[in-house]
């Protein structure tokens, strides 16, 4: 593999569903295949919608954490 690029962070804090998923999808579209993206969201729906989006797009859900009311959801894009 090699050539790991930095994680792309998408800040969707304070935005209501489905805006966090839309921002994530825009960032994923502009990034090369195999990119790792982390979306930060405060809307609890993102916790469910980001994994559902990843499943529908064939991407891989890497991690989901929460701290101080901010959800951090990380995906890796696939071709």
């Amino acid at each position: 593999m090699g050539g790991h690029s930095a994680v792309i962070v998408v800040d969707a804090r304070g935005l209501r569903c489905p805006a966090p998923v839309i921002r994530l999808a825009r960032a994923a579209k502009d990034a090369p295949v195999g990119s790792t993206l982390t979306v930060l969201a405060t809307d609890p729906a993102a916790v469910h919608d980001v994994p559902a989006w990843a499943r529908m797009r064939g991407h891989v859900m890497v991690e989901a954490t929460q701290a101080d009311g901010v959800h951090s959801l990380t995906v890796r894009t696939q071709a």
Binding site: A25, R26, K29, A45, V47, H48, D49
Partner: protein, 378 residues
């Protein structure tokens, strides 16, 4: 059909179906004949009592139980609350645990939290609980009550009530089956100890629920004493009579095969003709008339409004469409997309031409909403 519904296509019958004509006639008749207080001993009161007893008897006959096991409630929610609270209190010496499926109605989940300690059994991606996992929990010591819906009203998936009832019975735990989305649409069987139903859902008037309790279930009110012990204050006699008539009509109506076929068509065409859509729920083991799907990148509210403007009344489980900030706990538990959600519940007699018009227009409506949001090519 009244003027306000001409040209409208109602595909949102869940919990509040259009009133069946026979039920309306019975309601109006009972306003004249059954206006009095059924607790009074005079002729007028006795006539109201007779109508009320007749309603219970008719409902009991449809469900296949004894009339004395049927209690009428002022709402489906009240029936569920009373069932959970009274059994939790009646069996408090056994323990305080209440085992529920993850996609039970909020009334069941909230009542379980209120009356005891809720133990939640997860569901798979179709919304179905695992019967073995449920059985493993229900046989643990300290379980006062188990609750599993007959079918999920939001996504249509049937639950394994037979296997779960067997396990509960072996463990000596009563099983409450919420048939609020099933009664009047499918055979609810006899795998339950308490059964709740919803008149508004089967084409009767709203404001009337049913709770059937088998003899031998230990329950005790945790509310003040009243002549109507389980539902203090009683219920509206016209509503009870209309509900009973509607249940008889609905149960005998032959259009469920047609509704089942219509939903199959909707499932196939939505999945094929709307891009980026998540069609959820079991495709086969399901209610005949319910289907839910979610569209990526759009608010449920925006979709619902656009469809309403085109003459279609549909439901939604999206957080954006209700006052709640939390997304639908049903869609969340299934791992389904919670935004952009549209829920269809076909009323009895739904016409294929109307459903066809909905399917013809839906892809364009979704595309227009996405276009206006600038999310078309994501």
């Amino acid at each position: 059909m009244t003027d306000t519904t001409v040209g409208r296509v109602v595909l949102d019958a869940g919990g509040h179906a259009p009133l069946l004509a026979e039920a309306r006639a019975a309601f109006v008749e009972a306003l004249d004949q059954g206006w009095a207080d059924p607790r009074r001993l005079h002729a007028e009161g006795r006539r109201a009592r007779m109508l009320l007893d007749g309603a219970r008897e008719a409902i009991a006959a449809v469900v296949g139980v004894r009339t004395q096991d049927v209690d009428l409630s002022p709402s489906h929610t009240a029936a569920l609350h009373a069932a959970v609270r009274s059994v939790a209190r009646g069996r408090r010496r056994v323990g305080g645990d209440i085992v529920v499926g993850a996609v039970e109605r909020a009334a069941v989940l909230n009542a379980a939290d209120f009356a005891g300690h809720r133990v939640t059994v997860p569901v798979d991606s179709t919304g179905r609980v695992d019967a073995l996992a449920f059985a493993d929990v229900v046989r643990l010591p300290g379980v006062a009550l188990a609750a599993l819906q007959h079918a999920n009203g939001e996504v249509g998936t049937l639950q394994p009530v037979g296997a779960v009832h067997d396990a509960a019975r072996t463990a000596g735990v009563p099983l409450l089956v919420d048939a609020g989305a099933s009664l009047g649409h499918v055979d609810v069987g006899d795998a339950w100890d308490l059964l709740a139903g919803d008149s508004g859902d089967w084409g009767g008037p709203g404001g009337l629920g049913v709770l059937v309790t088998r003899a031998g279930v230990r329950r005790s009110p945790d509310w003040p004493d009243d002549e109507d012990r389980w539902f203090p204050g009683g219920v509206s006699v016209p509503a009870a009579l209309a509900a009973a008539v509607a249940l008889q009509v609905a149960t005998g109506a032959p259009d469920d095969v047609r509704r089942r076929e219509l939903i199959d068509t909707v499932r196939t065409r939505v999945a094929a003709e709307v891009p980026d859509v998540d069609v959820v729920g079991d495709a086969v083991e399901r209610l005949p008339h319910v289907l839910t799907f979610s569209c990526l990148y759009v608010e449920g509210e925006a979709l619902l409004g656009a469809l309403d403007a085109r003459g279609f009344a549909v439901g939604s489980g999206s957080a954006c469409t209700s006052s709640a900030l939390e997304p639908s706990h049903v869609l969340a538990a299934m791992g389904a997309l919670t935004h952009g959600n549209i829920r269809l519940a076909l009323p009895r007699g739904a016409r294929s031409a109307e459903v066809g018009r909905f399917l013809d227009e839906l892809p364009g409506i979704v595309a227009a909403v996405r276009e206006s949001w600038g999310v078309t090519a994501l």
